[in-house]
Symmetry: D3
Subunit: 131 residues, 6 copies
């Protein structure tokens, strides 16, 4: 058996899985659910738990929706998660990310990954004023 699991489509889904799909579509004002959720659906408790987490963490709060997506992408680029970069890149575009902002995001992520290693190479301690 492969690591890959066939996505569970709405038509095949159990009522508890459909309830999550319905809430995803209603929350995102879309008629479409992406594969991440359809694959998690093989284990409904995980599907329910992760959607509850995503809805709470990525929902309205103190950080605006576009910035939330940029933060998500920064992590996903650092971890080279292509599925995540693609889906959150699309979400960021939907929330207004411009080409120039995307280019700057990539530049910052690259730079931070570089300087993080400089700090490791020199075993940099935390500056006194930041303690």
């Amino acid at each position: 058996m492969s690591a890959r699991h066939a996505p569970i489509e709405y038509a095949q889904a159990s009522p508890e899985v459909r309830a999550v799909y319905d809430d995803i579509m209603a929350t995102r004002k879309t008629d479409w659910v992406n594969n991440y959720w359809k694959v998690l659906a093989h284990h409904p408790p995980t599907l329910q738990r992760m959607w509850r987490n995503a809805k709470e963490v990525m929902g309205p709060g103190a950080i605006d929706p576009l910035t939330k997506e940029l933060i998500y992408m920064a992590v996903s680029i650092t971890n080279a998660c292509q599925n995540c970069i693609a889906s959150h890149g699309a979400a960021a575009r939907n929330k207004g990310m411009t080409d120039a902002q995307h280019a700057e995001l990539v530049a910052i992520v690259g730079l931070a990954n570089e300087t993080n290693r400089h700090a490791a190479a020199f075993d940099l301690t935390i500056d006194e004023p930041f303690l």
Copy 2:
């Protein structure tokens, strides 16, 4: 010889190093330079190159200054770089990051690191509409 290098203070610094320190302080409107730069100063070409990069990437652009710092922190938290988390956390505070925003940043970074592994576990391909 240890990985740790003594920071080169302004008083000991060569003119070319002082020129970078001066530009850092002028750009940041501060009278203080953090250890990252003072340790890079052992190799002036690297000091000059990295400051040129940081100034260009983190300077005014299409992404606002606070969001740039949040992106930088997202990478640094993912890589567990304590020096970087501390210095860019301080920079973010200076640019207005509130406690609530910090808490949400940490929550998003954690969640993205989690879902990135779910995507790996299932070898998720990129959804058709995101190609």
Copy 3:
């Protein structure tokens, strides 16, 4: 020349390489060798060394065989190594991993990657009782 090396099949293999393939098949009670070993075979000392390591570390010991595979997968998922997730996922299935266990493994790996970043974000020191 590409990073990809053609697997060295049994028919083409030198006696020293065949000896390793034979031991892999005998140890695993199978008539098949996976590509990891067939690619390592381009450098016989590495093939011999790694098989000796794998046989010793993954062989009978204080941790049961299925749990050993789950630990291996936890690392491979964290590092997003698709070849490793697939081969050790198959090994885990052979040793009895159920769908429910696989779902829980993925959930734990995701959660740990999340909380590891929370710990980094707050520069959590080790609790006194754990020192």
Copy 4:
């Protein structure tokens, strides 16, 4: 302000935070809460959310409690999270991990991190039978 947040002790905690601490202690049959939770307590929604996640994922299920801790440690060692290694190492000891099992865990985690890079170096595709 530092990345480090003072832990919120029970005596200072709000009722909603105390309710989580109480549930942690009851679930774990202990009179003590570790710093991870006391630091998350600065943002009660995160404290509540993460405890709900940990309770569900690490609670009784298809994988036995000790194996769950070994999986958690495998991730934490791979990410070099010292706080997490210490706290889940203690939990694993409480659930019966022996010295020999700990030594084997470390050996497997090391080996998997090694072979994961071999697979990357050769851009290993997934073996046909594992697809």
Copy 5:
């Protein structure tokens, strides 16, 4: 919109982008530019900045050109960056890397990734003589 950007070919490129392509080809004594640069070209300031960085860091210095490529590959293998492993592997071959050296490189990278986790597992402090 996908994460993937069409490479900008010389014929379509603006004068400022062509100037970078020309310098890449002149510096490398080749008539060909790889996709990394052609994709960065969507944001000319990043293209210019990264080429300036690469030229300075990978150019003549205290470390010989082949060793520089081996170091670059060690990082890229650790991060599982297939594009980077391929392009710097080709560069290393051009600079004289033999099959035996490649095999040893992969072995060292694997071993270091293994021992790095052993050090994490035991929270190894730095030996007194190395401080």
Copy 6:
């Protein structure tokens, strides 16, 4: 019990552990064993196995001894392993690494970590000529 294990000193060591320590000192022409080995000594099979690996991989071969250490450091810096950076930094110094070479090593490691993320951000495929 902590993750930290007290190093096993020569005087306390069993004959099988002493045999490894003796071989480490003889191979390295030194009268001293670093903590990595003294901590692994709690599990003699791991001590023996890892020393056999290190001796084979880091011993004489197609890559010169200093370059081997630089590759080891590149991985250790990328993974932020302070113990490893310190011990292999000392080994590299012993084998002739100059300050200028160290500075260039750090610069290359930083740059590669940066460009690895650019490649991820754009989901760069492998260039045709590198396949």
